[in-house]
């Protein structure tokens, strides 16, 4: 394959997109119903159905094969349920037992069938998507594409018609039953659809990679959005992009890294989908690893900043209004020397809540003073701290020396409204249980 050729690559990409989208569409519901493994189980277990139909009908791409595989897939769902219910076997293990036995059976049957009909067991696993355009004789649409289009159409119709029912029975099966939507009927309809989709995708992506197409786009989309309709659309976009980029990477990727070969398109589709998922895992605004880490760092920065302000406020109190600067070393020693605390110190200076004081000759490190802004923020924080201590002391039998820990933790999360309520509850106290002054809400450096 040297360049892009629409008459072959076009068909391959179209097949990839159709198969990825039809899988992703039903896969969303598998993911949301926490039944991802059912896709795994079904995709393994349609094999004996295919093989039996194959032996009976003696040909590929026949209706019998399709029916046989759909039956086998549905049988897996029923059998797993039976092993769980009557055998009391744990869910995952039950599926493991059922699908591996069925897969083994299918493998043996296929070995036998391969004597009579041309069928490569390897194709079962990773499909044979590049073969599809070869069937396009004289500009006709290849039959595999027609099949995939039909399955995609059926899936779209199913999700479109039963959207409400699917949504309710997915998120709240009990509610759906009380509303007259039989949740178990929806379950088995979905299972039938998954089997059908899996079978139709056997030829193009194979049994293992169909799992990737069922689960991965849905999971990635679920990380990016909270709305079902958006999730479906996002998953379809991811699926299509995986198909297109997968084929491009498989056909041309190896050459970019200097290997003169091309590789398996459907496998590459799975890898690209995996990369999309990885991106979502890292970069999802709400659930992503990076976003979470960023939030955590921000929070600890805020907390350390406030701790420093509180520290300097108390320092000021101790020196009885005489504004003596505090050394950097002392501040860092008090709040714990770390990268975050250094950042916090720097950002306080940037925010003009601290100013570097004119240091005398004997100092080893720069010293800092609170600015009027800094004093205002610090006294709000100290007010929160001491109000909370007073509240705990009034309502809970906590020893005096245990109040500080709790207040130290909660002072950062006490809103003005909560301060107001606390103050009212305590009838506007002047001092905390330790006898220290509670600064007023507004009005800078106390009385």
């Amino acid at each position: 394959m040297s360049g892009w050729d629409w008459s072959s690559d076009g068909w391959i990409v179209l097949a990839g997109v159709l198969s990825a989208c039809s899988c992703a569409l039903v896969g969303n519901f598998l993911v949301l119903r926490k039944m991802s493994l059912m896709g795994d189980a079904i995709s393994h277990a349609v094999l004996p159905g295919l093989a039996i139909a194959f032996i009976v009908s003696g040909s590929r791409a026949s209706m019998e094969m399709f029916v046989g595989a759909v039956l086998a897939g549905t049988l897996t769902a029923v059998l797993s349920q039976a092993v769980i219910k009557y055998g009391g076997v744990e869910r995952g293990a039950a599926m493991g037992v059922v699908f591996s036995v069925l897969f083994a059976l299918g493998l043996i049957l296929i070995r036998q069938a391969a004597d009579h009909v041309d069928l490569d067991p390897g194709c079962v696993l990773y499909g044979n998507i590049v073969q599809i355009p070869l069937d396009a004789i004289g500009g006709e649409v290849p039959p595999a594409i027609v099949n995939l289009a039909i399955v995609f159409g059926v899936n779209v119709a199913f999700v479109g018609v039963f959207y409400k029912e699917l949504r309710i029975s997915t998120f709240d099966p009990q509610l759906s039953t009380t509303l007259g939507i039989p949740a178990s009927l929806m379950h088995y309809l979905l299972m039938i659809l998954v089997s059908m989709t899996t079978v139709a995708n056997f030829e193009s992506v194979g049994s293992i990679l169909v799992i990737a197409m069922l689960i991965v786009p849905g999971v990635a989309a679920h990380l990016l959005t909270d709305r079902l309709s958006t999730m479906i659309i996002v998953s379809l976009v991811i699926a299509s992009a995986s198909a297109v980029l997968g084929h491009v990477a498989a056909a041309f990727g190896p050459r970019w890294i200097g290997i003169d070969a091309d590789t398996n398109t459907s496998a590459m589709m799975a890898v690209v989908a995996g990369l999309f998922l990885l991106t979502a895992v890292l970069a999802s605004p709400q659930h992503g690893v990076i976003g979470k880490a960023f939030h955590r760092i921000q929070l600890s920065l805020t907390i350390t900043r406030e701790d420093i302000l509180g520290l300097l406020h108390r320092w000021r109190e101790m020196s009885a209004g005489d504004s003596r600067p505090m050394h950097r070393d002392e501040i860092l020693a008090a709040v714990g020397d770390s990268t975050v605390s250094r950042w916090a110190l720097r950002s306080l200076v940037r925010r003009r809540e601290l100013v570097p004081a004119v240091s005398d000759a004997s100092t080893r490190s720069p010293a800092y003073l609170l600015t009027p802004d800094g004093i205002a923020s610090a006294s709000v924080l100290v007010r929160s701290h001491r109000l909370w201590e007073s509240y705990l002391a009034k309502h809970f039998a906590i020893p005096l020396d245990h109040l500080h820990m709790s207040a130290e933790r909660w002072e950062h999360f006490i809103t003005p409204q909560l301060r107001e309520e606390l103050s009212q509850d305590l009838i506007a106290p002047d001092v905390d249980p330790h006898g220290k002054e509670i600064p007023p809400e507004h009005g800078g450096p106390g009385r």
Partner: protein
């Protein structure tokens, strides 16, 4: 306690026959068992395979059997720790490592291949663990993702190997589907070594693994190094999976870890016995599968082994004495038979209570006593007659025998006691207690009846019916 101490020794003992056979194995006549021309084996071949006379067969059969044993033993702990399908992700995730080693070396170097498989398998497990920590990704989704994406990556690399025509495509295929026949003497030794290591480790850490399986937090509080033990268990699973790849293939190797323990679980509640049974049934199905595929080389070994294990699972699920499906059906059936009988006797007791002791009751009257079908009434009545609790009078009426009267009184009394208890202590209206008492009367044990008597101050007599006069029950 003694039985428990014996278990490790029993495990070790299971290894002895193999070590003997291995030690004796000498390169004999090289009959190729990959010969595809053979279809139905003659008796010679069967006996040869069964008696392990042929050198190659001996290697394959012993290797596979040891693998089944090791997988059954370590699989038991993984199964109880609900890690069964983690092995699935692990085994599929070995493919990229294998393909990469093939791609780089361009030749078959077994130690490096297995190392590559182990490394990428472990990466797969770590990926599952990492993905699982994200709240939106459930464990099953994480397993599915890792399994399929890693497999995809492996296939991409495999595609390159195929294109580069290094002549090793077949080598990779044997890792996917398994090809026990390709097993060499040293592969069997490797599997044997792993089997010994697995059995030894499970023996050594038996106590720690046991509490880890049942109560992780308790294990921690008992000073068991939970993380280390967990890693050790996972490492043993990785080891078993990796050496098993060649024999059964990466798709089916996980079933050796899952199916024998799941089957063993039906037979026992004792972990030690379960480990033994799982090890033995894993070994048995592997032995049978390998032997069968030795005489019928066209059959894929891994698939046959898994099918054997599947049959064992099915038999266990059906026929196990206490947890089996048949036992369950039998229990349900005999319970409903007992309930039917007790209902008949109670109807007699109520009839006698209303009229007089010894008064016969006709079929019509019995039928009207409660809503039962004529067939089931007839069946229960026949049973009561057979047990000598009811006799059929000459007038067509039925009467209680004296033995039947004692039993009937007991049942009626249980019924009434429960009704009374519900009325007095659970504030349920008298018109609503009958249905409930109807269910409970059959399962009231002696101590509970004593307690009811105490609570209700009813020492001997049958309490009168709480229902309205003449309303019947």
């Amino acid at each position: 306690m003694i039985a428990m101490r014996g278990i490790p020794w029993a495990l070790v003992a299971m290894l002895i026959p193999f070590s003997n056979a291995m030690a004796q194995s000498q390169p004999g006549t090289h009959r190729s068992i990959t010969d595809t021309a053979v279809h139905w084996p003659g008796w010679d071949q069967v006996s040869q395979a069964l008696l392990l006379r042929d050198y190659n067969t001996r290697v394959v059969v012993i290797g596979a059997t040891l693998l089944g044993l090791a997988a059954g033993v370590i699989g038991t702990f993984a199964y109880l720790r609900k890690r069964a399908l983690m092995g699935d992700a692990l085994s599929h995730a070995t493919l990229p490592g294998i393909a990469l080693v093939f791609l780089i070396l361009g030749a078959k170097n077994m130690p490096l291949l297995l190392l590559g498989a182990a490394v990428s398998g472990i990466l797969g497990v770590l990926a599952v663990i990492g993905l699982r920590t994200i709240p939106r990704i459930k464990e099953d989704a994480a397993i599915g993702i890792v399994l399929s994406v890693f497999f995809g990556l492996g296939m991409v690399l495999f595609g390159l190997v195929q294109q580069l025509k290094t002549g090793n495509e077949a080598g990779i295929q044997s890792f996917i589907y398994g090809k026990a026949a390709a097993m060499l003497h040293r592969d069997a030794w490797l599997i044997g070594g792993v089997a010994v290591a697995v059995v030894a480790a499970c023996t050594l850490f038996y106590k720690d693994f046991r509490i880890l399986c049942f109560d992780e937090e308790f294990a921690g509080s008992q000073g068991c190094p939970v993380v280390v033990m967990d890693l050790a268990m996972m490492a043993l699973v990785v080891l078993t999976t990796v050496v098993g790849l060649q024999a059964v293939g990466l798709i089916l190797v996980v079933s050796l870890l899952i199916i024998p323990p799941a089957a063993a679980r039906f037979w026992t509640d004792d972990l030690g016995i379960m480990t033994l049974v799982a090890g033995a049934s894993g070994a048995a199905s592997a032995w049978f599968g390998a032997t069968l595929s030795a005489v019928m080389p066209r059959l894929p070994t891994g698939a046959i082994i898994v099918l054997c294990a599947g049959v064992m699972f099915f038999v266990s699920m059906m026929a196990a004495p206490r947890r089996g499906v048949i036992a369950g059906i039998w229990r349900g059936w005999s319970l409903s038979r007992r309930i039917g009988l007790q209902h008949v006797l109670r109807a007699f007791a109520e009839h006698e209570e209303r009229y007089a002791e010894g008064v016969g009751i006709t079929m019509q009257q019995l039928l009207a006593a409660r809503s039962w079908s004529p067939v089931s009434l007839q069946r229960s009545l026949q049973r009561a007659i057979r047990r000598g609790e009811v006799t059929r009078g000459g007038d067509g009426g039925f009467r209680l025998t004296s033995a039947g009267r004692v039993e009937a009184a007991r049942i009626l009394r249980n019924h009434r006691l429960w009704e009374l208890y519900l009325i007095r202590h659970a504030d349920i209206a008298p018109s609503h207690v009958d249905r409930d008492a109807d269910d409970v009367e059959h399962v009231l044990s002696e101590p509970i009846v004593r307690e009811l008597e105490r609570a209700l101050d009813e020492a001997v007599a049958i309490p009168p019916s709480p229902h309205a006069e003449g309303g019947g029950v």
